[in-house]
């Protein structure tokens, strides 16, 4: 027995040693010294509780440091939200990257002194109906084939109950397809509010409509149960089990049972439910109602396509969608909105209002709530949180994360899962938690405002956008100039296509004999000092980094290319339908012209979509690091995308670990020896052999120190990857050029606080003046930062009597006045004034109301 014990002890020691890391030299914090290289060319959503005030970072008296605020960010896995909150309270974690929607955790956090939170609002819950019928193939009745019954379902469900009792306050009622925290809702808030009043919870009214329609269908109520052809009408509810939708399903089933239906509750996970609700033939009747849910990870500024997507057969090719039959009126207007067929913003708003009302008439979906998610963190730690995507969806978290507003420190960042798959900029991990991490390692030309979705310039000085006259495009920010022109001709020397054999771009002049035109022309002027910016391996950016991205856009989907890949072909075909060319106007400073037929309502978004900064779909990629992957793919030793890797049975390129590193290392050595320039006939115009050699040499030093090839130009560099332990360490990049406080204003959403005051009694026929105070942290909200302040009057009958704009009297103070004529139209009784405040700084509108009595 002693021997066995001895062996056991030896085994444990051996395992401990096996699991311990191989001692590696401690890398220096600073990036390696570079080799000197020549410089290369709602209902009304109920006023929700404002986020718990957390101690704002106190401004330091010393100037803000250069680069990131903190020295180090360490990411690790924690799949359990409850445990993550406990860890934050205990100080073992500073931030949790997952948006928590658990009402019990919310209740706990409200009283916590050691944890704070910010809200995000990207998730919605709804009921999806099967529109097939009126009978299924087997003769069963489908009541939801009748739009009027679906419409009545809006009044059969109590959204306030769902928000307060099922989601425990972690949701706000939602009536239309337009997310109530996105800019489009704010623009049509009065329409939305009218809809909310019209479709408020009213079982009696719902039952009346449903009863009448059921009788028209030939059903009869027998002993309070609806029967059709002698059999009870059985409603199959596919109820998702993973979250609160289980309770929603039970609630809806009970509501249906209360009005005479039999409910067949079928509890399913996502995987089990999808073939039943989405891809199964609706006419087979495997479901009547499905408890749906949708997630948006960014603040979308244009939801015009939502009507087409969620209600019409054009939305998707799946079986359920093919069952959608909408009224010709709704079909036309949703299609026009999708095509952006409107002349200006006013017409768009009017079409939007019409579509919102028509969507309620159709109600192929009944929207229930907009879910709130908690982004939990230590009170002293602040970082920009995206209004829709939360912390994990924020592009500015690396630039804003700080501890108490002071430089330095280590932030411990938890996430449910990290290192889910390989990292490579083209086809690597698209998991939100991996993206959240590698986002910190790359720069961008423009960056999304976490609270409005508008794009701000990051590595771009300015952009000039010219749009074909008549297209409904506007702009909000000064860095973009917007002009209109009757026609936009594409110059002959613009790159329009690619010859993979000659490895050269084909110009418009070479490809077309006729004049080519475009809907938009965008001239992007990048930062004057852009090419002085260092990369993590000690190199400097160059125009070649941009050009390689352009080449790969064309080369990868081309079947004559050495790195042909089927995966990008469909997207490339779509891209080609609107692409009208690129032209490099100036190499340094870099100025690029882009021509395209695609346009967006915001000129800022047009620029963002034309930008060719070397930040690929899945992270930053500089030409010399991409070159190694391209060579490995050409030799079929590694490939960028998962689909091709499976097909060829080779490893997918991974720049941060695994078997890929040896292959990339081999190509680094050969590239250094040969001063290799990929796609030399084109790239050779932007990089010399000496520059190439210097780049590879610096990369070699970087690889020796760090053990990976993930090189970027962001505020943090990838210091260490521990794949088994699932720990990633980012460290502050000392040569990052921006001051730390550049984006600090985004560290906290400036959601306005609104207070309404005024007379509690109003005499009909007399003027009534109400006062609206708009503040943020008890300071007046600047008038210039507010988009508008509207007020609605809900009269004593519960109807919307009036919508009007309030007027600013001074910063933070607005007047909402009712004229004598307006009060004259109000009946005597209890009325309510509801104020909608929409800020330019945060897309989410704020609502406040007060009641008043009208007397004669």
């Amino acid at each position: 027995m002693k021997k066995v014990t001895f062996v056991f002890v030896l085994l444990i020691i051996a395992l401990l040693i096996a699991c311990a890391p191989t001692p590696t030299p401690v890398p220096p914090t600073k990036a390696p010294e570079p080799t000197k290289a020549p410089v290369a060319p709602t209902s009304a959503p109920q006023p929700t509780a404002a986020p718990k005030p957390t101690e704002a970072p106190k401004p330091t008296t010393a100037p803000a440091p250069k680069g990131a605020w903190v020295d180090e960010v360490v990411f690790f896995e924690e799949p359990d939200s409850n445990k993550a909150v406990s860890m934050i309270e205990a100080g073992d974690m500073h931030l949790f990257g997952f948006g928590i929607s658990d009402g019990k955790i919310y209740a706990k956090l409200k009283d916590s002194k050691n944890a704070a939170y910010d809200f995000s609002y990207g998730s919605t819950s709804e009921l999806t109906f099967n529109p097939a019928g009126p009978t299924f193939k087997d003769g069963r009745l489908n009541p939801f084939s009748v739009p009027a019954i679906r419409e009545a379902m809006n009044m059969l469900v109590d959204r306030n109950y769902i928000a307060k009792e099922i989601y425990l306050g972690m949701a706000m009622p939602m009536y239309t397809v337009i997310n109530p925290v996105f800019p489009d809702y704010a623009k049509t808030a009065d329409v939305g509010r009218a809809i909310e009043i019209k479709y408020a919870y009213d079982v009696k009214k719902a039952k009346e409509v449903i009863d009448a329609e059921m009788k028209k269908l030939g059903a009869e109520l027998v002993s309070n149960v609806w029967n059709y052809k002698g059999a009870p009408v059985n409603i199959i509810l596919i109820i998702r089990t993973e979250d609160e939708r289980r309770l929603i399903g039970d609630y809806v089933a009970k509501q249906l049972e209360d009005i005479g239906f039999k409910a067949d509750r079928q509890y399913k996970t996502a995987a089990e439910a999808t073939p039943l609700w989405m891809t199964g033939d609706p006419a087979e009747g495997k479901m009547h109602v499905y408890t749906g849910g949708w997630i948006s990870t960014v603040v979308s500024r244009d939801l015009a396509n939502n009507f087409t997507y969620y209600y019409t057969a054009r939305g998707r090719s799946d079986a359920l969608w093919q069952g959608y039959k909408v009224s010709p009126e709704f079909d036309k207007i949703s299609e026009r909105l999708t095509r952006r067929d409107y002349k200006d913003v006013a017409e768009r708003t009017q079409m939007f209002a019409e579509a919102m009302n028509l969507s309620m008439k159709d109600s192929a979906r009944v929207w229930l709530v907009n879910r709130q998610s908690l982004n939990v963190h230590r009170p002293e730690v602040k970082a920009a949180v995206d209004l829709a995507g939360g912390t994990s969806g924020s592009w500015l978290w690396p630039n804003t994360i700080n501890i108490g507003g002071k430089p330095g420190g280590t932030v411990r960042f938890g996430a449910p899962s990290i290192l889910s798959t390989v990292w490579n900029p083209i086809g690597g991990s698209n998991w939100i938690y991996d993206s959240m991490i590698f986002r910190a390692t790359g720069g961008l030309a423009t960056v999304s405002d976490p609270y409005t979705g508008l794009y701000w310039p990051y590595r771009m000085d300015k952009a000039d956008v010219t749009v074909k006259q008549g297209l409904p495009v506007g702009k909000s920010l000064d860095w973009v100039t917007l002009n209109f022109a009757p026609t936009i001709e594409v110059p002959k020397d613009v790159w329009i296509d690619w010859n993979p054999e000659k490895q050269q771009f084909i110009t418009v002049g070479e490809k077309y004999t006729q004049t080519l035109t475009a809907n938009t022309k965008t001239v992007m002027t990048y930062n004057k000092d852009l090419f002085k910016n260092k990369t993590h391996d000690g190199n400097t950016l160059s125009a070649a980094d941009f050009v390689l991205g352009m080449i790969l856009t064309f080369d990868r989907p081309n079947d004559k290319s050495a790195i042909f890949d089927e995966a990008p072909v469909p997207a490339f075909k779509s891209f080609l339908t609107n692409f009208r060319g690129w032209k490099i106007v100036s190499k340094d400073p870099l100025v690029i012209e882009a021509y395209s037929d695609t346009f967006y309502p915001d000129a800022e978004e047009i620029v963002r979509n034309r930008d060719v900064y070397p930040y690929y779909a899945q992270g930053i990629g500089l030409w010399h690091t991409m070159s190694l992957g391209v060579q490995a793919e050409a030799a079929k030793e590694l490939v960028f995308t998962s689909a091709k890797a499976t097909k060829l049975k080779v490893e997918q390129t991974n720049y941060i670990g695994g078997p890929s590193l040896k292959v990339l290392e081999k190509y680094l050595a050969s590239s250094t020896d040969k001063s290799y320039i990929p796609y030399a006939p084109t790239m050779g115009q932007f990089v010399t052999a000496a520059e190439a050699k210097a780049r590879y040499e610096n990369l070699g030093k970087f690889y020796k120190d760090r053990g990976h090839f993930w090189v970027g130009d962001g505020p943090f560099y990838l210091h260490q990857v521990r794949s088994t332990e699932k720990i990633i360490t980012l460290r502050k990049f000392a040569d990052f050029p921006d001051p730390a406080d550049r984006w600090l204003r985004f560290a906290e959403p400036q959601i306005p606080a609104v207070a309404v005051s005024g007379p509690s009694r109003v005499t009909v026929g007399q003027v009534a003046d109400f006062s609206v105070k708009v503040t943020f942290k008890n300071q007046p909200y600047a008038t210039k930062d507010l988009d508008f302040v509207k007020f609605l009057i809900i009269d004593a009958t519960g109807n919307l009597a009036l919508t009007a704009n309030a007027k600013a009297t001074k910063d933070g103070e607005w007047a909402a006045s009712l004229t004598a004529d307006q009060t004259n139209k109000l009946a005597a009784g209890s009325n309510r004034i509801e104020v909608i405040v929409v800020s330019k700084l945060v897309a989410k509108p704020t609502f406040e109301s007060m009641s008043f009595v009208t007397i004669k």
Partner: protein, 378 residues
């Protein structure tokens, strides 16, 4: 139990002077029959796993539906595609779906793929995962499993081997003190083992991490990981304390109870009483007359403990965010990554049949009454 297929030679001692060629032939024949039987068992077990994991082929329907859902959502979230005409957009989605369906070979009949799964599994060509990757980014199932096994073995071996030997030592001790207060306490605590280890884990986290803040909440090492091997090992040990304790707490009382009862049965044999009567020391009696005859079941139990070590603890590893095989299997099941699930099952199946096979041999070595291959009774 393996002993069920063994031939026991009643009460007599083995015959001396067996004819070697006969013995070899007998052993050879037995080995052959046994190997074939175990192989057939593995084939059936693995194919059943393939069928179950694939829900008899229905998983294809689910997978295709999931692909459609994910592709559709991806396209909806891509602003660059939103200006395409709806017919183009739908065509785009369909093309992406076809690519993914082809990648996963869902366009081929399930039966063909199920045979491929089986052949690959039996030849230990574990193939490539469909969705998951190893921590270092490889899609090879072999690498995915190999990366996780050390972490699981470390945790599982520390806990289960401690539990195994600890329980035997304490059981022996208690069997000598039958009816003492300590014995009664342990027996009374035996039902506590019905509580799963992960449940103890949550309590231990609450007490030692959340409340007292003296041990970590989970993970394998501190984040950031210590640079030196010594500090890393210390951190690793610190992170092992709670999960190991949870496993031990879960199993210790019932294990002691089982072994103690087992030893008590053997302690009351006539030959033990005879040994006592002869005046042998308690230690000698324990070693020669109690432990030795109980060795085959102990070895069997030990062998199965060793197999168990490789499986990992699905929920416990998730509770402690321990990057082991159990957590891997949980993730693979959640996303229906069939090759990873089958690979894991094949690994365990081969370990199991090898162990069963070896146990047959070891039994014969340990217990003179047991003979491999059977023998006609005289």
């Amino acid at each position: 139990m393996a002993s069920g297929v063994l031939t026991e030679k009643a009460l007599s001692r083995p015959k001396i002077g067996i004819r070697i060629p006969d013995t070899l032939a007998r052993i050879g024949k037995y080995v052959l029959y046994r190997s074939v039987a175990l192989f057939v068992t593995v084939v059936i077990g693995v194919y059943l796993t393939v069928l179950i994991v694939n829900m008899g082929g229905y998983l294809d329907t689910i997978r295709i539906a999931q692909i459609r859902e994910q592709v559709g959502a991806g396209v909806l979230g891509d602003p660059t595609l939103q200006t395409l005409p709806p017919s183009e957009l739908r065509k785009h989605i369909d093309e992406l779906v076809v690519l993914e369906v082809q990648r996963l070979r869902l366009d081929q009949p399930f039966f063909v793929r199920s045979v491929d799964y089986l052949v690959d599994a039996l030849t230990l060509n574990l193939g490539r995962a469909e969705i998951m990757t190893s921590n270092s980014g490889s899609k090879q199932v072999r690498l995915i499993l190999l990366e996780r096994i050390p972490a699981t073995l470390l945790l599982s071996a520390s806990a289960n081997l401690s539990l195994f030997f600890g329980a035997i030592f304490v059981a022996l001790f208690l069997s000598r003190r039958y009816g003492s207060w300590l014995d009664r306490i342990v027996i009374a605590m035996a039902p506590s083992s019905t509580v799963p280890a992960w449940f103890y884990g949550i309590f231990l986290i609450l007490i030692f991490a959340s409340l007292l803040h003296i041990l970590p909440f989970g993970g394998m090492v501190a984040a950031p990981p210590p640079e030196s091997t010594f500090d890393y090992t210390l951190s690793l040990l610190k992170h092992m304390i709670l999960p190991v304790s949870a496993i031990i707490l879960h199993g210790i009382f019932v294990s002691i109870y089982q072994w103690r009862t087992f030893f008590l049965i053997y302690s009351s044999e006539d030959y033990v009483d005879m040994a006592k009567a002869k005046g042998l020391t308690a230690r000698t009696i324990e070693r020669r007359y109690i432990l030795r005859p109980t060795l085959p079941p102990i070895v069997t139990s030990f062998a199965f403990t060793l197999i168990y070590l490789w499986q990992g603890a699905i929920i416990l590893e998730t509770v402690f965010a321990w990057p082991g095989v159990g957590r891997l299997l949980y993730q693979a099941i959640s996303i229906f990554d069939v090759p990873v699930i089958v690979g894991n099952v094949v690994l365990i199946a081969y370990l199991l049949v090898t162990t069963v096979f070896l146990l047959d041999i070891i039994y014969a070595l340990l217990d003179p009454r047991v003979k491999v291959g059977g023998e006609r009774r005289a």
